[in-house]
């Protein structure tokens, strides 16, 4: 995955670049809004990570102009501001996701990877398959090795989200945002308990685990 990071804090940018490299991606860095805009406009990036406050040109206007020029590259907006309306304005300007500083890199990585996958057209698929696990979005049924598993509506949505991002790390906040539509920090271990309930249903009586816990980050649905 090719990522463009538009961030004026040198140290933060270098750290992000290195971390993306280690995760197997390539990241370019632009230190101001103008450079960032021309790179994003001409280059072929999978995801843009844009800081809101930038010298020469602010992040939101960079995103808005890219969108006006027909660029559909997914954008993750980074911000030191964190009010709900900041997120709303960020998304309205054309951002696809929003992350408040300070953040954990695992969170940034997970969200960036999720955005990249969204660029591909998994949304239109009606049946998700991970190993012998199968989820039919139309008939709302889940099967594993041909056997039907009965899930509560919320459990179904949880599994649907995990399967759409199969092979990727999904954080707890991402789950709370996408499955429950709340953007605050999940308290204690509410999400974990939901996930372990789901895990019990899709792994019990089957020999191989599919829903893995990634320590310090979140969860990943992966066959084998």
């Amino acid at each position: 995955m090719k990522i463009l990071v538009i961030e004026d804090d040198r140290e933060a940018a270098e750290y992000i670049q290195k971390a993306f490299d280690e995760a197997g991606h390539t990241a370019d860095v632009a230190a101001d809004g103008e450079t960032g805009f021309s790179l994003a406009d001409s280059g072929d990036y999978d995801v843009l990570v844009v800081d809101r406050m930038l010298p020469r040109r602010d992040g939101l206007s960079v995103v808005a102009q890219l969108r006006a020029r027909g660029k559909t590259t997914p954008v993750l907006i980074l911000s030191a501001l964190g009010e709900v309306d900041d997120r709303v304005t960020g998304l309205r300007a054309g951002g696809d996701d929003y992350l408040t500083k300070p953040y954990a890199f695992s969170e940034l990585l997970a969200r960036t990877e999720a955005l990249n996958r969204r660029g591909q057209s998994k949304e239109v698929e009606t049946v998700y398959k991970v190993g012998d696990l199968e989820l039919d979005r139309l008939s709302h049924t889940v099967r594993r090795a041909g056997r039907e598993i009965v899930l509560q509506p919320r459990e179904f949505r949880l599994l649907e989200y995990l399967m759409r991002h199969a092979g990727q790390v999904v954080t707890r906040t991402m789950l709370l945002e996408n499955v429950w539509d709340y953007h605050f920090d999940p308290q204690t271990n509410v999400i974990d308990v939901h996930v372990s309930r789901l895990r019990a249903k899709i792994e019990k009586e089957f020999d191989s685990p599919v829903l893995h816990t990634v320590r310090g980050a979140g969860y990943m649905l992966r066959a084998g």
Binding site: G82, E83, D85, A104, S106, Y182, Q187, N189, R215
Partner: protein
């Protein structure tokens, strides 16, 4: 000199001076106007008297000729306070009259003498020659048909005395006004000056760092007292805010120091001695978890400050609290089950209010989280948490009731403050910010957060104002 300048620099002194000047100008204009009016009236009266005299004399001459006229004049001239009379030959030699000497040239001009002239009566001692000018008078000079010259005049003593009186009273009045201005300055100005001086002195002390200092109140209830009282109330408010801020920063410092110390110690201990990769890994993972908790705490602090500052522009939409209750209960249901807490909800019906769904959801989760955390593992009874949504004319009330240990009455207000945790819950997980955030959210929505005894346990009520009063 410097003292004088200081006095001049006061508003009171300047005002006194200004009033003094204004009064003097007004008084002068008034007196001059009145004097000139009175003088011209007196002069006109004098002339009328003389004209009448002349007419009388003319009749006497017509009746008895010159000898009769002379007799009449001699008779009149003898009366006390008489007018001036004089009859002279055409060549200027005096025949009779009560005027001893005249300013030269008066007799030779016919008609009214325009300017007052000086004269001397008969019988006036020559020893008074130190007043050579004699008395001032006005007169008319006319000629009889036989070319004899007749002068009738009147002494100007009366009008002159009048202007003298006026002049003297003017001086007295000016003196009194000056004295009055001084008095006003002394009693009003100086008093005000002293009060202001004591106020400045007190505020200097307070600025100097003595925040417990207050401005003096004389007890007279005047403007200065009201000003002092208002400023004192302001100072008290500042002091209490300052105290609150100090307490919050103390708490923040304390509560952030603990995890930071843990972070540091863990890193340090894993670096000393020979360790396996697994040890390093575990320590790093623990540190990441600890840092995440710190970030969470920071975000909560920021959120509370923003909401409390009140200038936050969090968007509000029409939110059905019934849905929020359902969401949150559903979110916490597995946790409750895991901790053997019976989580139930009772919703009377949809309750749509203008609110921020995110904030309400977060506040309610914090409260439910607390309720589960504290009611679980209480020996002797089955833990129960119930979430109720009720509507009445007084507003919408969202309450969370648990049957845990509760919060002592005296501590209920305190536990909603930042970082305040009860002693018995110090070892429970949590940041001590959950209820503070819930309270800030309720304040933001124009409502309030109430804590009460659930007998046993605690009931936390999120009270929203009636719909028409809600923002």
């Amino acid at each position: 000199m410097a003292a004088l300048r200081a006095i001049w620099n006061t508003t009171a002194a300047r005002l006194s001076a200004l009033y003094l000047i204004l009064f003097v100008i007004c008084a002068t204009v008034l007196v001059v106007y009145m004097t000139s009016l009175s003088t011209s009236m007196l002069t006109a009266q004098t002339r009328d008297t003389i004209n009448e005299e002349v007419m009388g004399l003319a009749q006497a001459y017509d009746r008895g000729g010159l000898p009769f006229l002379v007799r009449v004049i001699e008779q009149r001239a003898r009366q006390p306070g008489a007018n001036l009379y004089l009859i002279a030959n055409p060549d200027g030699r005096v025949l009779t009259g009560n005027v001893q000497s005249l300013q030269p040239g008066v007799l030779t001009t016919d008609g009214w003498t325009e300017q007052p002239f000086s004269y001397r009566r008969f019988g006036e001692a020559l020893g008074e020659a130190d007043q050579p000018a004699g008395h001032a008078a006005v007169a008319i000079v006319f000629r009889l048909p036989n070319r004899m010259i007749v002068l009738v005049g009147r002494d100007l003593g009366e009008p002159e005395q009048f202007s003298r009186v006026v002049r003297r009273s003017l001086v007295v009045a000016f003196g009194m006004m000056g004295f009055g201005a001084l008095l006003i300055w002394f009693f009003v100005g100086r008093r005000a000056l002293l009060r202001i001086d004591s106020l400045s002195e007190a505020s200097r002390r307070i600025m100097g760092g003595d925040l417990t200092g207050r401005l003096p109140v004389a007890g007279s209830g005047d403007e200065f007292d009201r000003l002092s009282e208002n400023l004192n109330t302001m100072l008290a408010r500042i002091a209490s805010l300052n105290e609150g801020l100090k307490q919050v920063s103390d708490n923040i410092a304390h509560d952030l120091k603990t995890p930071l110390t843990r972070l540091r110690n863990r890193a340090e201990s894993v670096l000393t001695g020979k360790r396996s990769t697994r040890d390093y890994r575990e320590a790093l993972e623990a540190n990441i978890a600890e840092s995440d908790q710190l970030i969470r705490t920071f975000n909560a602090i920021l959120m509370i400050s923003r909401l409390e500052a009140g200038n936050s522009a969090e968007p509000t939409t029409q939110v059905d609290l019934a849905e929020t209750v359902q969401d949150v209960v559903e979110l916490y249901e597995p946790v409750a089950e895991e901790r053997k807490v019976r989580l139930t909800s009772a919703v009377a019906g949809p309750a749509v209010i203008p609110a921020n769904r995110e904030l309400i959801g977060q506040a309610l989760s914090n409260i439910v989280d607390n309720a589960i955390k504290y009611s679980a593992d209480v020996e002797g009874r089955a833990a129960e948490v119930s979430v109720n949504l009720e509507q009445s004319a007084a507003g919408v009330v969202l309450s969370v009731r648990d049957n845990g240990p509760g919060v002592p009455a005296g501590e209920r207000e305190r536990v909603t403050e930042r970082f305040v945790r009860l002693e018995q819950s110090r070892n429970m997980p949590g940041s001590g910010l959950g209820l503070s955030l819930a309270k800030a959210v309720m304040t933001f929505h124009g409502g309030r957060l109430e804590l009460a005894d659930a007998e046993p346990g605690l009931v936390v009520r999120m009270v929203f104002p009636p719909r028409e009063a809600a923002a």
